[in-house]
Symmetry: D4
Subunit: 247 residues, 8 copies
Amino acid sequence: MKSHLKDILEQVRQGQITVDDAVKKLKDFPYQDLGFAKVDHHRELRKGFPEVIYGLGKTNDQIIKIANAILDKGSNLLITKVEESVYTSLKKSLPQLNYNDLAKVAFLKQKEPPGGQGKIVIITAGTSDIPVAEEAFVTCEIFGNTVEKLYDVGVAGLHRLFGEMDKLMTAKVLIIVAGMEGALPSVVAGITNIPIVAVPTSVGYGASLKGLAALLAMLNSCPGGVGVVNIDNGFGAAYLASLINHL
Amino acid sequence: MKSHLKDILEQVRQGQITVDDAVKKLKDFPYQDLGFAKVDHHRELRKGFPEVIYGLGKTNDQIIKIANAILDKGSNLLITKVEESVYTSLKKSLPQLNYNDLAKVAFLKQKEPPGGQGKIVIITAGTSDIPVAEEAFVTCEIFGNTVEKLYDVGVAGLHRLFGEMDKLMTAKVLIIVAGMEGALPSVVAGITNIPIVAVPTSVGYGASLKGLAALLAMLNSCPGGVGVVNIDNGFGAAYLASLINHL
Amino acid sequence: MKSHLKDILEQVRQGQITVDDAVKKLKDFPYQDLGFAKVDHHRELRKGFPEVIYGLGKTNDQIIKIANAILDKGSNLLITKVEESVYTSLKKSLPQLNYNDLAKVAFLKQKEPPGGQGKIVIITAGTSDIPVAEEAFVTCEIFGNTVEKLYDVGVAGLHRLFGEMDKLMTAKVLIIVAGMEGALPSVVAGITNIPIVAVPTSVGYGASLKGLAALLAMLNSCPGGVGVVNIDNGFGAAYLASLINHL
Amino acid sequence: MKSHLKDILEQVRQGQITVDDAVKKLKDFPYQDLGFAKVDHHRELRKGFPEVIYGLGKTNDQIIKIANAILDKGSNLLITKVEESVYTSLKKSLPQLNYNDLAKVAFLKQKEPPGGQGKIVIITAGTSDIPVAEEAFVTCEIFGNTVEKLYDVGVAGLHRLFGEMDKLMTAKVLIIVAGMEGALPSVVAGITNIPIVAVPTSVGYGASLKGLAALLAMLNSCPGGVGVVNIDNGFGAAYLASLINHL
Amino acid sequence: MKSHLKDILEQVRQGQITVDDAVKKLKDFPYQDLGFAKVDHHRELRKGFPEVIYGLGKTNDQIIKIANAILDKGSNLLITKVEESVYTSLKKSLPQLNYNDLAKVAFLKQKEPPGGQGKIVIITAGTSDIPVAEEAFVTCEIFGNTVEKLYDVGVAGLHRLFGEMDKLMTAKVLIIVAGMEGALPSVVAGITNIPIVAVPTSVGYGASLKGLAALLAMLNSCPGGVGVVNIDNGFGAAYLASLINHL
Amino acid sequence: MKSHLKDILEQVRQGQITVDDAVKKLKDFPYQDLGFAKVDHHRELRKGFPEVIYGLGKTNDQIIKIANAILDKGSNLLITKVEESVYTSLKKSLPQLNYNDLAKVAFLKQKEPPGGQGKIVIITAGTSDIPVAEEAFVTCEIFGNTVEKLYDVGVAGLHRLFGEMDKLMTAKVLIIVAGMEGALPSVVAGITNIPIVAVPTSVGYGASLKGLAALLAMLNSCPGGVGVVNIDNGFGAAYLASLINHL
Amino acid sequence: MKSHLKDILEQVRQGQITVDDAVKKLKDFPYQDLGFAKVDHHRELRKGFPEVIYGLGKTNDQIIKIANAILDKGSNLLITKVEESVYTSLKKSLPQLNYNDLAKVAFLKQKEPPGGQGKIVIITAGTSDIPVAEEAFVTCEIFGNTVEKLYDVGVAGLHRLFGEMDKLMTAKVLIIVAGMEGALPSVVAGITNIPIVAVPTSVGYGASLKGLAALLAMLNSCPGGVGVVNIDNGFGAAYLASLINHL
Amino acid sequence: MKSHLKDILEQVRQGQITVDDAVKKLKDFPYQDLGFAKVDHHRELRKGFPEVIYGLGKTNDQIIKIANAILDKGSNLLITKVEESVYTSLKKSLPQLNYNDLAKVAFLKQKEPPGGQGKIVIITAGTSDIPVAEEAFVTCEIFGNTVEKLYDVGVAGLHRLFGEMDKLMTAKVLIIVAGMEGALPSVVAGITNIPIVAVPTSVGYGASLKGLAALLAMLNSCPGGVGVVNIDNGFGAAYLASLINHL
């Protein structure tokens, strides 16, 4: 690998090279062509984290080959949205692979990632939201963040939230996971000045429209300070929270 | 008018007549045929309140004729969704007509309606929700209820809600009016055991989808005890709350 | 448990304590932290009914632990949206658990709940709507209400509704369950002055959009007096109806 | 005009010519090319009614030229969805043009159309649905049908419908026009065996979604015998009803 | 059964009795209360066809009991949306039951229904639309109509439609079944004056939105004469077509 | 301007330079920074046509400044979605500006664009679709194509289409513009092997959902060979058709 | 077969026969009536490719009969959307049938199709989009085109796209397949002047709405030159691209 | 004002007081009851910024009274979504009020807010997105942030983005504003590790669905690091970005 993006960016920040030169180098960054995939070995330098495998719609064979390409570079491995039966199958080729069965996430940590500066607190409205929260949890950890969980403190019993405010207030960033009416991010945004990454979940039925109701509620939060990611996207929430936590 | 529905229903409750006989009488109840409208003079007996005029999509002339038919029977008059310019025009024919310009409701009370037993408290999340709340207010009043207002206590500053809890807790029924994320009914349902009639409003923009976001949130309320009416339907909320308050 | 919410609320109503003081006590109310759940033992005092377990999205192990926490407090247990296979599994740990297989509701009554004042009548438009109606039925019963059923009286044969009017008219509150065009709440609202809790069901196909058609119809009911809950939400309808019936 | 479609179709029915020959002739049918429009002078023969001008999205000049082309052939003229200001402008060029201001339909009858066999009864749920019903009325009349109106008999006061059943039962086809929850076609279909053409209207607000709620309700009618046309499409309803009435 | 609806309606048509008297009798019409169902034995008189069982959402036991109640009255039996496994199970209790496995319709004809006057032609755009068309076919037959099929003549090869025009033109009513873009009813409406009942199907994927695309297309048909029923509702189309064919 | 994209691409095609080198040069291409806009003077080289101004959401002043920047380079000017009042205002600064009032497009041709190889035929279903077709027409012309118009040949009178087949068959590419049910592209795709660019229009009302019905229909075309652009996007259709015509 | 469409069209282009005569001949073109299907043997002449079987919603038996009818004419066979279990079953009757298990497409090439003039390059944003791309690939090949694949070059690592620009720039037409945010067609359209056929895929979850998000993004592409087909419609994209490539 | 939230929070962070005590104090925080509004004077302490007035749905009189209440406390004033005519009217009572006519935001800075640590760069895809970007700009400034603008660098000419990378890379947080296909946040997220707040705009027409297309695209961003706010919500984006920038 000819050059490290981090160095390049540092040089840009310090005015040592022009951005023009930086961009020209970008095109020379390495990727590994597997035919069905072009593994972006450069991403770890560019984004701070290596490429993550989205498990849906890929064959086991494709996942294994991409995983090996990533592991061969010494990077940490994260595979999201993996059914347990797929994990069992992957495990045969990748015996050190770990699995969070609530989150349906497989992972393998080969080295310590750069640590974040503060703490990320992951909050759920209910117990049924935990699978999405756990996806965020595994992602935050493998991205080098200190994380704490605060589950089942939704609006049906707000005293539970109030009773855990000291844990909540120690966060640098909050990830709030809620389905149904998705009111919890608004409530928390009304009482704190901590940036919130809100994750709607598909928990609910009927007019929850598979999470659209919670999504819309979060996008319309009256109190400010809320950024929203896709329904059930614990991974994406952790990604953004981790970027903020590494500032 | 041959028979009063109230009497009939009382007789049914007391077993003095069969419901069969009661239903047979229903068909004989009076309505007044204006060609473009069949004014249901029987509704006051059947439902407790006289027919209410929905102002949209009717010509001024039609509204005036229906209004006169209702007033001629000595009933109270309520016209919803009436633009001020229409009211001004109606006023010429109906000089005693009153108007709530926030609610865009015209009304004329000719007699005292039967009183409700408890109090209805009307709550809004924000100031922009007031027009819908006022429609509920005027309707509650003309239907004979004691009403109190509690405006602008939404989730952006929950201490305002907590600070007004004593007013809230005196209600027999709550009407809660909220736009944007529509979280307030859920929050209140989490801390009280008072039946809630929730009214989503079209306050908001973009992903509020003209009130659909708030509507969906209210339908998905995690805490129980919430019944929802149409977007911006202050009238319908008051109707249901009044029925409950007259139990 | 330091204080009973009911007492507190009574004191508020009688002006013996300020609401400020009441709210301050709220935060001290007990909940039991199971890690994945914070069981709200205070809810029974606050809402009149103990916490109810929403069965979807929870592991069997989570359900059992929450159920035991509730039962240990001597409260009645209600678990909604439970597949029969899950129930069979739960039954091993909770041998006294009962199951309504139409409603997919598991329940265990340990004590007699406070009784409602009137009767709740549950109406369905068709036979296919019965599962949702039965969820409402089990919930109404465990919440202490007298309930009567009136099934399959939809608009395809209105004489069946008229023939059962005497049963219908004895209700203090109506729960009306209907799929497809969802017209029945409007029809009943046109002929009675009893508050109606309307439950759209996902019965139908194609343009029923899994119950959205019925939901929209009920929200747009021309006659007043109708409050709507989520699609297939028999539990939520019973919750609201029970609150009204306990007024 | 070389051949009359009616004659051709008659010959087909009687086996005098093959349909192959009939179709070959189709391509030779006349149309008049105005550049911006190809006026289909053949339609009257093929469909029983001449081409009708859809007023939206056309310039006054375009409408006038098409109208003159139709009138020049001695056909009756019907222009739908015409604002009053446009009509006033058209009137200058077409002084004999008539206008139904409720329906926003302009028309000019030059000859008597072939009469239908039975009667079409047009029903509305409310007064606000009348504009759409009037569009159907004008269309039915200019297409040669006997028509009767039965307005404002919706579910808010079903005794009005029952009280007019004798008028309703004389129809060969029913056109039922309703907004909001759109329940009336279902109710009528439950008690008659007359074919129903159902027209949802955009009367309502909020969750009526500009008539979608009524449209979906009508498509999901539990009782059979209901065919649905587009929202506010009084013209289309009359077209279908007229075809049935001319059978 | 005290009175036959047909006789009553005849008397109304001939002015021998008032509709008032007719309606009064309606309430006395018989239905059989099975608890979970109120079988409407009166429907055959009122609508011309007996009650039809909608198979979805009912237990086998419920279906069998309703079916027996209908058969006991000597009526013909029709059960729609029945999976083959359910049919196999029903067959044990109802050995004479027949099954159309394309349509997933079970039926048993005990007597000859009153015949229609003309012929119904059922058209499909493609082969994949046949299941819905067959549901219409079975229904038309058991309702006493002469039916002919014209399958796979969609817009991808219009010469197939033109080549079968002589069959098409003999119809009194057309049922046109199409998925994907749903263009066929518009095309046929452009070249005939026969009333069309259009049935959108869920054939397609992606932006067909499970039949919504075809539904919307049919509702927006530019040529007139098209009435639309629910997606995949072959039964409903046959119901309406049969009413028209029996005029 | 250091280098012409066309030359670069030619060199790439002929293997004279690597694409790597070509891409590196891309970043050096010129754009003019107006603060509120970065006018892409390079686009004409890269795409074959200069930057086109999308008129909506821009102030008159912004449009004029961008227009002048484009004209100063000697390029042809095209401004879409411009209301007549805006055009009148622009005209003061740009006196040679032309306007197509049906299309609401302003344009000024300073030089002859490179000509296309074949002919583009623009077809509309109805007269109301002409504004969108005219937007396509002006765009095609200013992009150097030979264009022919074929308006008002929709499915309500297919013989008009058949009668103009010789004009249609001379096209290298077809642009087909249709609202309502949007069936025309499917019909034409069924009988030709010419690539079709389909443009849904917002012509229609109610369930046309402002053009969504036509859009969905076109996306679901059963016959192949149809590419779809945005609703009312005559410009985009012309852009794609012109690229194909210049192959 | 009396006449070849290709010859007819050639004669039309050369003015040797009128289109009128051409159209008249169309109706005489052959199709084979299998009852459940009318196999359009004429399509190969008319469209350049023979009829293709859409596998969904057809029984195995229907597919085999249509396939045999096509093969008997010496045409190439293509069956889309075929599950592997169905293929295995078909294989017994059609032993030479091939299968692309990623694309779920079965095919059998009996003769060489007419070759296209240029090259089609098929691009995917990610590995999960490959099944749709492969459907396009098989279709392009059997339609006689030279095809190249460029997989996994989405916006998460644009340097991969830049690194493969030389492959991309050799195309006459591009097929770009992308799910999730569907941004790749816009990005490519911004830097090339090659016509793009964009295929949204259902890759994603939650707010991807099964591909609607990508579909809408592609329809709204700011850079011009993009035509869109249905979600997951690799076949349709290949069809259009092949028509363009054969120009 | 008894206590400053900031102090309380600091004490919590330093363990000097428990959060329990902190929360108890919350309820005592001041708000000013204007009847139609409860002005939350406490918000500045709690959230870092004072209450902001949402201009839609409020009367001029209400806005002025709330504004005065805020100004009286010495806080800075921000009023969003204010039409110019409303501003002109407000200006009479609040002569020092400023107005950004692109953003439709009124504001009045009375004191210097606490400064952020880094820089916020606001990016737009096009010129038509500027009004929303300007709303973000004014908000960022009044909230004490250093801000830079980078307008019109969308995917139609990516070299403009590359050419401004040095400006972009100096940001601590990015606000990216885009309508139509909303691809820009994904593209930027692919090449940087700076947290992105994405703002979809309603720029576009037809299938942009008033910004829903861009919203969905942003929620489905394949590259991570993107948090989304409501359509056209420049204010909300600035709020979140400011919180992050003040970390």
